[in-house]
């Protein structure tokens, strides 16, 4: 026998799982709706019976729901739903070793041989219900001789439904056909035939039906008759690729650390090889000894993670990456514990492109980049990545670029449309300044804490943009000025940020 556990209004129940128990019970009895969609027009995607009773429907906007009054709103969270699904599977696993995660909010378990442990199907279902309630899930349960029948019965009937062998068709009979996994076209045909329930669908002559709706129609009819048989696809525990080592005495030198690091990495890589897997993401956590300092606590934890361009099982390469990172960092306290986690993925099977120009191996490139990061750091003062390929953004705003990570794929280089004739050395960040005007042209500019006379000025060069976005709107007025300095004449670019109403020196011309 198979039992299907179904969580009705799954996104709502998932949202309630995070609430305190008393609060959740209170909310469960109140109208509650879960919203999802773009931030400017979120809509209801799920709701409970109390909300249905006050006239809320799926698809309503937030404002429409708010006009009904007294409805609790929650934003949809995939993480919460994943957590709820995990809780459901955990609950199911307590009653059977073979549990299938059929779809979000639904699990099917094989109850064969569990009678001696839990009793009859009815008793088992009651026990499951009680167990699920304890973790905050209200279930519908159906038990049948095959997984599909159990699933459709759970979808169609509230509470607990036990379907005796041989009575499948009779019990499923009143269910509507639109819960079957049919294409919209096929459902339309059934609708035009006046077939609305499993019963009337099941009663159609099979050969004539196959002549009209093909094998798909026949398969659906078997579902409606409760005559299908399919193997369960039970979830299997996924091996975790986590290794750790706790030091007897906190260590302070890299030498000791790398020894154990290498050992833990080897264990993980051996596991990956054994499972025919590789990793493209590595997480390192170092637990530090907590020390009390004058400013408060210090130490605690160091975390870092690497995303690799290609999956690998190569221990040496991974070790080099970790070592380079550790060499670059100094820790505020001795290390107590080391943990490494590898995210398993399928190994790379692709063959290199015969016609592509030669490029460095992805693994070697990654190590080189790590070395460069070790020298220049990861981020600059403005939070822009220091290692990668600069990409000019398509905007009128000057000095707007992004740094993208190098990739091993070869990209064609397209030069910018306009190549400036003068090189401008940009100050990052720009220097705040003040400017005095005579008429409409700047006369004095404050630079390096001194007022500099403007010998010549060219401007104003005006630009503005993003007017449709209150927070990102910008407008500036630029001048290129020749300033009298101690060395002689210096050529600078100054600009007025019209939004902040502040002058800046942007850079100096070479």
């Amino acid at each position: 026998m198979f039992a299907c556990l179904l969580v009705p209004d799954f996104p709502v129940q998932a949202a309630l799982l995070l609430e305190a128990k008393d609060e959740a019970e209170l909310l469960r009895r109140s109208p509650i709706a879960v919203l999802d969609g773009p931030s400017n027009l979120p809509r209801v995607i799920a709701l409970n019976d109390a909300a249905r009773n006050v006239g809320i429907e799926v698809g309503m906007t937030k404002l429409q729901v708010e006009t009904c009054g007294g409805v609790y709103l929650r934003k949809r969270s995939v993480d919460h739903e994943d957590a709820a699904q995990a809780a459901l599977l955990e609950c199911a696993s307590a009653f059977s070793p073979r549990v299938e995660s059929t779809c979000p909010g639904t699990a099917i378990l094989d109850l064969t041989g569990t009678e001696k442990l839990f009793g009859s199907p009815e008793i088992t279902a009651c026990k499951i219900t009680v167990s699920a309630r304890q973790i905050g899930l209200h279930l519908r349960i159906a038990i049948a001789a095959n997984p599909d029948t159990a699933m459709y019965a759970a979808r169609g009937f509230a509470g607990i439904a036990i379907i005796p062998v041989g009575d499948e068709a009779k019990i499923l009979a009143p269910l509507p056909v639109d819960i079957l996994p049919a294409t919209p076209e096929l459902l339309e045909v059934l609708e035009s035939w006046g077939i609305h329930t499993f019963k009337s669908f099941a009663a159609l002559p099979s050969i004539a039906l196959t002549e009209r709706l093909g094998q798909q129609g026949l398969a659906l009819q078997k579902l409606a008759q409760g005559r299908t048989s399919r193997p369960l696809k039970p979830i299997e525990p996924t091996p975790d690729f986590i290794g750790n080592h706790e030091f007897e005495d906190p260590i302070e030198t890299l030498e000791f650390l790398t020894f154990d690091l290498n050992r833990v990495l080897k264990e993980i890589c051996d596991q990956l090889v054994a499972q025919s897997l590789a990793t493209n993401e590595l997480r390192l956590t170092l637990d530090l000894e907590v020390r009390q300092t004058r400013d408060g606590k210090d130490g605690e934890q160091y975390k870092h993670h690497w995303k690799l361009p290609v999956p690998t099982q190569d221990r040496n390469m991974l070790f080099t990456l970790l070592r380079l990172d550790l060499e670059r960092n100094t820790f505020s306290a001795p290390i107590k514990k080391l943990t490494i986690e590898a995210v398993p993925v399928k190994p790379r099977m692709a063959q290199g492109n015969l016609f592509a120009p030669p490029s460095p191996e992805a693994e070697k490139l990654e190590i080189t980049l790590a070395r460069i990061r070790g020298v220049v750091g990861s981020l600059d003062a403005e939070g822009i990545s220091c290692v990668g390929s600069p990409q000019i953004l398509d905007t009128h705003k000057s000095r707007t670029f992004a740094v993208q990570s190098f990739s091993s794929s070869v990209e064609t280089y397209s030069p910018p449309a306009v190549i400036p004739t003068l090189a401008l050395r940009i100050f990052r960040p720009a220097l705040e300044t003040s400017v005095e005007f005579t008429g409409k042209a700047p006369h004095f500019v404050r630079l390096w804490k001194k007022h500099r006379r403007v010998l010549a000025a060219s401007g104003p060069w005006c630009s503005s943009g993003n007017w449709w976005n209150e927070t990102a709107a910008w407008a500036r007025e630029e001048w290129d000025v020749a300033l009298k300095t101690f060395e002689g004449v210096g050529y600078y670019r100054i600009y007025l940020d019209r939004v902040r109403r502040q002058w800046f020196v942007e850079g100096v011309f070479d």
Partner: protein, 1045 residues
């Protein structure tokens, strides 16, 4: 220093310019610019509006265009003389007519050379030829280009253009341009390359850029403008900006003074009509008129003679004989080809038009005012509109005009499509990156009722649909939606206006190909054409003309009678009885709810009553509060009085209440001593949205005249109110009379030949006020048997056939089957003629054009029920067979006729049949859905439509029905009129604005409703004033409602 902006674009540079020509002119006036040149891209679309607005402000409107050239760049060309204008128009026309669909029309440099006379060329902005040349090959190429331009236009006619928008690269180009100009000794010219009137409109320009490039604002990048500097600048600002090259600003004034041409001197001439040797057009017209008059007027009385002489003399004086002869020629063409045609509008005021057969109304017999049609002092061309049967016949006449006057001698007038609520909501949403679902939702909620509640703002509509206006993105969205309202989006063709010109029309206005093959349109809309004195003939398609023509054919074939519309029996009591009872569904002009509500009060008994009836329900008389007094006087409930005794002759026929445009002209002539022409000018000014100033001036003159004639202030106000409420929103008497003729003919055919008339009406739908479902039910209530679609009998069109008892029956045509193409239906009919179909499989095999969906739809609506020779199928039998017939068994089973077992499916029940009928054909030929629930409704105390009519005024009642129309007229102060239909007839419900606000969903969305309220039964006109409304679960059928949004 004087400055003239010589390079401006308006919103008629579609999706680029962001201001209307009027806004540019207003800004010029603010900035004290004496002139401006409008250079829209590849056209002079905005020139007439620019010209008219500039004339009002005393600014010189100079003409030009940016012409796209195949070799690269847009050449800004200014028109110096009329020859230059003609060259520009021809150049653009040549490029436009040659261009392939959805490509930019470009002219070649060689063509530019051939059309250069009278044009002055600027070197342009970043899209101009000089910028292209410099970008391509630097100064060398720039020098070459200037040499080329000098050789084409002459060194006096090339100006090197400078613009300064605070852009470094533009300035480096400017410096190169200054160098080149000094080398070649060419003058510099400062312009601001205006794209919008004020800096704030840069946002609209950015939005348009996104729409044009199919991008969103946040992905458009450098396609958007760099800053907001392309607005209209004053002389001081420009002088400061170009302080280093002052001659560039000074040259603008000098160049402007060289541009002599304005649209005042357009040089349009109406074509001459070819006449036999020895004749002049005048003499030829005179002969044709007298010939016609002798047939029309028997005998030609002295009054007729005098009127004709007067009209002919004026036509001769104004040199309009050619125009009349050309329209007469069209009438002759229609007569020769058996096409029904009738002149409408003010042309019916002319005895010459009546004599020539252009109109069907005797203006002398009806004492119509000729000056409404034509007057000497007005200086305007007359306007003759011809009603033709819509469809192929009208197209035949249009093609005849093209053939006769050449592709470049005649064209349709354009129609400027502008951003309105729904289109603005959709496109602004796209630009801001809203998803498709949100867009559909937004555009669906934007209200489009004719009447706008002042509180029903876009803000309110957005809030109602669940948009949070405090969200910054939504606030920007709303702001953009409001600002793009009324800006032009693109050009389409007007429904019927044709402009004809002597010589080449393309030297007067550029021509473009229309989307419809074989059509050419001018770049101006009908108002622009009228403003600039272009004469046009409106060839309007009138669905009812086609209905009349088709009815006559059906009557000939099935009744064996010949009906001559010109000689219908007049004043038949049975026809007027029907009209008086407001039993007028399907009749021309008198079928709307408002007409039905006034018919019993007006109580028409003769033709002239119909004329007043047609004119009565128009926005002019309604808003001028003339409808109600007139009806009361008709019923004798109010004494007939006149504002002044001198007005008795003018208002006597309409019981002291002006109903026709001619009457207001007469009022002005009598009260204020206006001449006929002045009075007509008054009417036009009052009705024109574009000329507030002109309106005020004429009103002052009118009041001064009335004062001089001793009219009291109160009477003056009353007369001004009469006139201003009318304006363009009332009918001329002649026009009303032309429509009344058609209305009478439609009533006559409906009463005497119901089957033929109904079939013709259904075959020419969409037209009129009601959906076919209502027309069919109305015909059934009048005793016509209507049979459903049947593949063994139906044609494409609805047809007539005899039933078992020899009675005429209407058979619904295949055209009413949803998604069935005409070609597929005709293939079916063709196969049926060879041999009858014997099964569904036989039908599917012999008519392979029918898709699976077609066959399934035919089965669902019962059109396959009679396919089996042995036994009648039911709809689901047929559906069962269709699914098998469309699944081929493969080559092995081909040709094997396998008898199928009986279908296991149950019959459709009544509800399912109703749903299938309405879904598949939009109507049912069976019982009305309400009939199936009558017993229950009766138990609930619900009255039927017939019972409601007999209830006394002020009684409480409840009615139920299917909503067939919803209307919120612009003249009804927000009241919604809803028509409910049941098996006994229709009932009308009045919904007040407050009630609507509280019951919006039920009023707008429900198909069947239960309404309770107070009966308003006055003069046999019955309404129910709603106090409660509830949805009613009668049927899931998708019954249609014709909602006037």
């Amino acid at each position: 220093m004087q400055y003239v902006e010589l390079h401006a674009r308006s919103a008629f540079t579609f999706l680029e310019g962001a201001s209307l020509p009027e806004s540019l002119v207003a800004r010029c006036a603010e900035r004290n610019l004496p002139a401006m040149a409008l250079l829209d891209r590849d056209g002079v679309y905005g020139a007439p509006r620019f010209h008219m607005a500039a004339k009002q402000c005393g600014i010189k409107a100079q003409v030009g265009a940016e012409v796209s050239i195949a070799e690269g760049g847009s050449y800004p060309l200014l028109v110096a003389s009329r020859t230059g204008y003609q060259n520009l128009c021809r150049l653009i026309t040549t490029a436009k007519l040659r261009a392939k669909k959805k490509t930019v029309a470009t002219a070649g440099l060689a063509e530019l050379q051939g059309h250069a006379e009278g044009l002055i060329c600027l070197t342009g902005d970043e899209n101009g030829p000089l910028a292209h040349a410099l970008a391509k090959d630097g100064m060398t190429r720039g020098r070459h280009l200037l040499r080329q331009l000098i050789s084409i236009f002459g060194s006096q006619n090339v100006y090197v253009e400078l613009q300064r928008h605070g852009d470094r690269f533009q300035e480096s180009r400017n410096q190169a341009a200054i160098g080149l100009a000094r080398e070649r000794g060419l003058p510099l010219l400062a312009t601001n390359g205006v794209c919008y009137a004020t800096p704030a409109e840069r946002q609209i320009a950015d939005v348009f850029t996104c729409i044009k490039n199919k991008r969103r604002l946040d992905t458009a990048g450098r396609l958007l403008s760099q800053n907001s500097q392309r607005h209209v600048r004053g002389a001081e600002e420009m002088s400061h900006l170009f302080a280093d090259v002052p001659e560039a600003v000074a040259n603008t004034g000098e160049l402007s003074s060289r541009l002599e041409f304005t649209l005042e001197k357009l040089g349009y001439e109406f074509p001459r009509y070819p006449v036999p040797e020895g004749e002049t057009m005048d003499s030829f017209l005179r002969k044709r008129t007298w010939e016609g008059a002798r047939c029309r007027y028997r005998p030609v009385s002295g009054r007729v003679r005098a009127q004709l002489e007067k009209e002919l003399a004026l036509i001769e004086k104004l040199k309009l004989a050619g125009y009349f002869l050309i329209v007469w020629d069209l009438i002759c063409f229609c007569e020769q080809n058996g096409i029904l045609v009738q002149g409408r509008g003010s042309a019916a005021n002319s005895a010459v038009c009546y004599s020539l057969g252009i109109t069907a109304i005797d203006p002398i017999g009806m004492d119509l005012l000729f000056e409404r049609f034509l007057s000497e002092e007005r200086g305007e061309w007359p306007d003759i509109d011809l009603d033709l049967p819509s469809g192929d016949h009208r197209e035949q006449v249009i093609q005849y005009v093209y053939e006769r006057y050449g592709k470049r001698g005649a064209a349709m007038t354009a129609n400027v499509c502008t951003y309105r609520g729904r289109s603005a909501a959709r496109e602004m949403g796209k630009v801001l990156g809203f998803d498709e679902d949100t867009l559909s939702r937004l555009s669906a909620i934007v209200g489009t009722w004719e009447w706008r509640d002042p509180n029903d703002t876009m803000e309110k509509q957005f809030t109602n649909t669940g948009l949070d206006l405090s969200h910054p993105q939504i606030a920007v969205y709303l702001n953009l939606c409001q600002r793009v309202q009324d800006l032009p989006r693109h050009l389409s063709q007007h429904s019927g206006g044709m402009v004809i010109c002597q010589g080449q029309l393309d030297s007067v206005v550029p021509l473009e190909p229309a989307t419809m093959p074989g059509r050419v349109v001018v770049q101006w809309d009908k108002d622009d054409c009228a403003d600039l004195g272009l004469i046009k003939v409106d060839l309007l398609g009138l669905g009812m003309m086609a209905v009349l023509k088709d009815s006559i054919g059906l009557i000939r074939d099935h009744y064996g009678e010949e009906v001559d519309l010109a000689h219908l029996p007049q004043d038949c009591p049975d026809i007027y009885d029907t009209i008086r009872k407001a039993d007028t569904i399907g009749m021309f002009q008198i079928e709307s709810c408002a007409q039905m509500a006034s018919l019993p009060r007006n109580n028409p008994t003769r033709f002239y009553d119909l004329v007043t009836q047609v004119a009565l329900i128009r926005p002019g008389p309604i808003t001028g509060e003339m409808t109600s007094p007139y009806l009361k006087r008709r019923q004798g409930k109010e004494p007939v009085t006149y504002p002044h005794e001198s007005l008795i002759p003018a208002l006597k026929r309409t019981l002291g209440v002006p109903l026709f445009q001619e009457q207001l002209l007469k009022l002005a002539m009598i009260c204020a001593n206006f001449t006929g022409g002045e009075a007509e000018e008054l009417r036009r000014a009052l009705g024109s949205k574009r000329s507030q100033q002109r309106m005020r001036e004429i009103e002052i003159k009118l009041r001064a005249g009335m004062k001089a004639n001793g009219f009291q202030e109160k009477t003056q106000d009353q007369i001004v109110r009469f006139i201003s409420s009318f304006a363009l929103y009332g009918f001329p008497e002649s026009h009303a009379a032309s429509f009344a003729l058609i209305a009478y003919a439609s009533a006559f055919l409906k009463v005497r030949y119901l089957a033929a008339f109904t079939a013709a009406l259904l075959n020419n739908w969409p037209m009129g006020f009601y959906h076919p479902a209502t027309i069919v039910k109305d015909a059934q209530r009048h005793g016509l048997r209507v049979r459903p679609v049947d593949v063994t009998r139906s044609q494409w069109n609805c047809s007539l056939e005899d039933d078992d008892q020899g009675r005429l029956t209407l058979r619904m045509g295949l055209r009413y089957v949803r998604s069935l193409q005409q070609a597929s239906a005709e293939a079916l009919v063709c196969q049926r003629r060879c041999a009858p179909f014997v099964s569904v499989e036989d039908l599917g095999r012999r008519a392979p054009q029918l898709s699976r969906d077609n066959l399934a739809m035919l089965a669902r609506i019962g059109a396959l029920n009679n396919l089996s020779p042995d036994a009648k199928l039911h709809r689901r039998d047929a559906l069962w067979q269709v699914e098998k017939a469309v699944r081929k068994g493969g080559p092995l089973l081909d040709g094997i006729m396998e008898l199928d077992s009986a279908s296991p499916l149950r019959r459709m029940d009544v509800e399912e049949r109703l749903v299938a009928d309405y879904h598949g054909t939009g109507l049912t030929t069976g019982y009305h859905p309400m009939a199936y629930r009558r017993n229950i409704l009766r138990e609930m105390g619900v009255k039927s439509a017939v019972e409601l009519r007999n209830l006394p005024h002020g009684k409480e009642a409840t009615v139920a029905g299917c909503v067939i129309t919803r209307q919120r007229p612009g003249t009804a102060k927000g009241i919604i009129f809803m028509t409910l239909e049941d098996e006994t007839g229709t009932s009308r419900v009045i919904i007040s604005p407050d009630f609507y606000d509280k019951n919006r969903m039920a009023v707008l969305n429900e198909r069947f409703v239960l309404v309770s309220g107070l009966v308003q039964n006055q003069d046999n006109v019955v309404h129910l004033r709603a106090r409660s409304i509830q949805p009613l679960a009668i049927s899931a059928a998708t019954t249609p409602s014709h909602d006037f949004h």
